[in-house]
Point group: C2
Chain length 325, copies 2
C-alpha cells in the first residue's frame, strides 16, 4: 500500500492541489480559481469536488494507494484553529473556518490540517528537502512579501496563538519604508521582490542613473527578474540592488540567529535564483552583526524544494508531520 | 520526604548558592568569591566543599530532606555541553567543562545541570513565578547587559548549539551605538542599565541640560538607580531617558513577538523597579511595531521572582525542569 498526501496551496488567484508521494514527488496536480465572489461555502464545495475528482483519477490507475489526508497552505493560516484569518488578498473576509468546513468532505482520511504558506514550506523542507536531518532551522520565503517558518527541536514554532514566524515584519530600519502592514521599516519592505524594486527606484533617483538598463522601465513594469537580468549584464544599479538587499537581509537573519541559534537558514522563492548575487552579500552582512559565538557557524542555503511544485509539496508535508505525532 | 534543589549563580565577583524548596523558597544560602586566579580546579573544589557544607548544615536540621540536584546559572553557560564558554567577565578562559568537573563531587544526586543566567531566570519564572501556566513566553533580563530566555511549547529554546536566546544582540539601530560585543546598534547598547546611562549623557549633551539633577554626576558615577530617582523628582532628562529606553525596548520586543508570538514577555532586573516609567513607553512602542494580528494581545509583565534571590532560585529551577523529562 503506497501512502500519498494531498497538498493544497490557496493563492490569491488560484488554488493549486496535488497528490504527493513520500519522497515529495507530485504524482498528479490540478487547480481551480480562488474566487473573488467571497462565497466561502461555494468555494469549499468546488474545491472538495475538484480534489475528489483528482483522487478518483489517481486511484483508478493505482489501486494500492492510501490517501492519508489533506494539508493546506494558506495566507494567514492558523494551524491551531484550522482557520484563515483576515487574509488581505482573499475575498473571504474575517475568520474562515477552513478545516472545519472541508473536513466533512474527507471524513475517511486521517488528517485535514492547515497552516500558513511559509510554515508549510518549512515543513516541506524538513520532510522532503534540505532540512531532513535538522532539528533547528529557519526558512525565509522571499516573494511579493517575506514569510518565515521556524523549527525548534524538530517542531514548527506556532506560538501561543498559531501566528508565530512573521519575521518579515521585524524592524530593520527605524522609521524606514512603509510596509504593507502600515508599520515602518519592516524587513519585508526591503528584502521582498517588491522591496528590491523599491531599492532599484531609490538608486535610480539617487544616482540619476539615466544609463541604467532599469531606467527605461516604469514602476509598474519593473520586477525582480528584470533586476536579475540587468545584474547579469553588469548593470551597476542592478548589482547595487542585490548588494543592498543582501545587506538588509543579513541584518534580519542575524536577529533571527540571536533568537534561535538555528543550524541553517533556508532561503526560498524566485529571488534565490540569483544565486551568489544574493547569497554572498547576505552571508557577509549576517556575519557582521553576529556575536562571536555564532560567527562562521550558521549556514545560509537555498531551499531544496522545486520552485514550481513547492507550495503543493510543502502543504502535503503537513500531513506527514501531523501523522508523526 | 521534602524535595530540595540547589541553585548556584556564578557571577563575576561572587558565586552565590542556596537550597530551594518546591515553592521557590530559599531555605539557606551562602556564597564564595568567584576567584580572579583563573585556576578552575581550585575553584570547583572550593565550590563543591562550600555547597556540601551548606547541605550538611541543612540536613542536620531537617532529616527528611532529599537533595535532588544542582542547577547552575553562569554567563555564557551552555546547557548541551555543561560548559561555560569564553565568558568575558570570568578569569577562567576558553571552554570550561563545569558540569563534568562538578559532577563527581555530587554523584549521589540525580541532576547537575547548567545554562546561562537569563535562561535560568526564564525557567525560574516557569517553575516558580508568573509563567507557571504558560507554554510560550519570553523573559528579558535588563541589567549591566540584556539577556533573554525563550520558551516554546513549554521548553526552553537552546538552538542547535545551546546558545539561543541572545536577543540583547539583535540590531535596533543600524550603525548605531557600539555594543560590548563590538557590533553596532545592538539592543543591549540601548536598553541595559548601562544603555540608560549612555542615553542620559547623550541627552545632557543634546540639550546642554545644565539644570538637570544628572548634570552633576560624572560618567562613572551615574547609574540607572540615580536616573530613576531623578525621574521620580520630575527631572526632564531622566524622564526622557525612560521614554527613549522604552521606545527602543518596545521595538526589540516587537521583533521577538514577530518571531515567537509569546503569550507574555517578562521583564526582570533592577530597571523594572521603575514600574510604569519603563513599562508604559515599552508597551506603547511595541504596539506601534506589531502586525495587526498581534496588537493588544501580548502582555508585558514584571518578573515574579524576588530580586535578591532570583539568580539562585532560577538556577535551582533547572533541576526541577530537568527531572520533569
Amino acid at each position: 500500500m503506497k501512502k500519498v498526501a494531498i497538498g493544497v496551496d490557496v493563492g490569491g488567484t488560484n488554488t493549486a492541489f496535488g497528490a504527493v508521494g513520500p519522497e515529495g514527488n507530485v504524482m498528479v496536480k490540478n487547480n481551480i480559481p480562488t474566487p473573488r465572489h467571497g462565497n466561502i461555502n461555494q468555494y469549499i464545495t468546488d474545491l472538495a469536488d475538484a480534489i475528489k475528482k483528482m483522487i478518483s483519477s489517481l486511484t483508478e490507475q493505482n489501486k494500492d494507494l492510501k490517501i492519508l489526508g489533506i494539508g493546506i497552505g494558506a495566507p494567514n493560516g492558523n494551524y491551531y484553529n484550522g482557520t484563515i484569518e483576515y487574509a488581505p488578498n482573499l475575498s473571504f473576509k474575517g475568520v474562515v473556518h477552513f478545516v472545519e468546513m472541508l473536513r466533512p468532505h474527507f471524513s475517511e482520511h486521517e488528517a485535514v490540517v492547515l497552516t500558513n504558506d511559509a510554515n508549510a514550506a518549512a515543513i516541506g523542507e524538513m520532510i522532503y528537502g534540505g532540512a531532513k536531518e535538522m532539528k533547528n532551522f529557519v526558512l525565509f520565503t522571499l516573494g511579493t512579501g517575506v514569510g518565515s517558518g521556524l523549527v525548534v527541536n524538530g517542531e514548527l514554532v506556532y506560538g501561543h496563538d498559531g501566528f508565530a514566524g512573521e519575521c518579515g515584519h521585524t524592524t530593520l530600519v527605524p522609521d524606514g519604508r512603509l510596509c504593507g502592514c502600515t508599520a515602518l521599516g519592516h524587513l519585508e519592505a526591503y528584502c521582498s521582490a517588491t522591496g528590491m524594486k523599491r531599492t532599484a527606484f531609490e538608486l535610480l533617483s539617487y544616482y540619476n542613473a539615466t544609463d541604467s538598463i532599469l531606467a527605461d522601465k516604469s514602476y509598474n513594469e519593473l520586477d525582480s527578474k528584470m533586476i536579475y537580468e540587468a545584474a547579469k549584464k553588469g548593470d551597476s544599479i542592478a548589482l547595487e540592488v542585490f548588494e543592498k538587499t543582501g545587506a538588509w537581509l543579513g541584518q534580519g537573519l542575524a536577529d533571527t540567529v540571536h533568537h534561535l541559534s538555528p543550524e541553517a537558514i533556508f532561503l526560498f522563492g524566485g529571488v534565490t535564483a540569483a544565486g551568489d548575487l544574493i547569497f554572498e552579500p547576505t552571508k557577509k552582512s549576517m556575519e557582521k552583526y553576529l556575536l562571536p559565538i555564532f560567527k562562521n557557524k550558521i549556514k545560509i542555503l537555498p531551499s531544496e524544494l522545486k520552485p514550481g511544485d513547492a507550495a503543493i509539496v510543502g502543504a502535503s508535508a503537513l500531513v506527514w508531520k501531523e501523522l508523526e505525532k
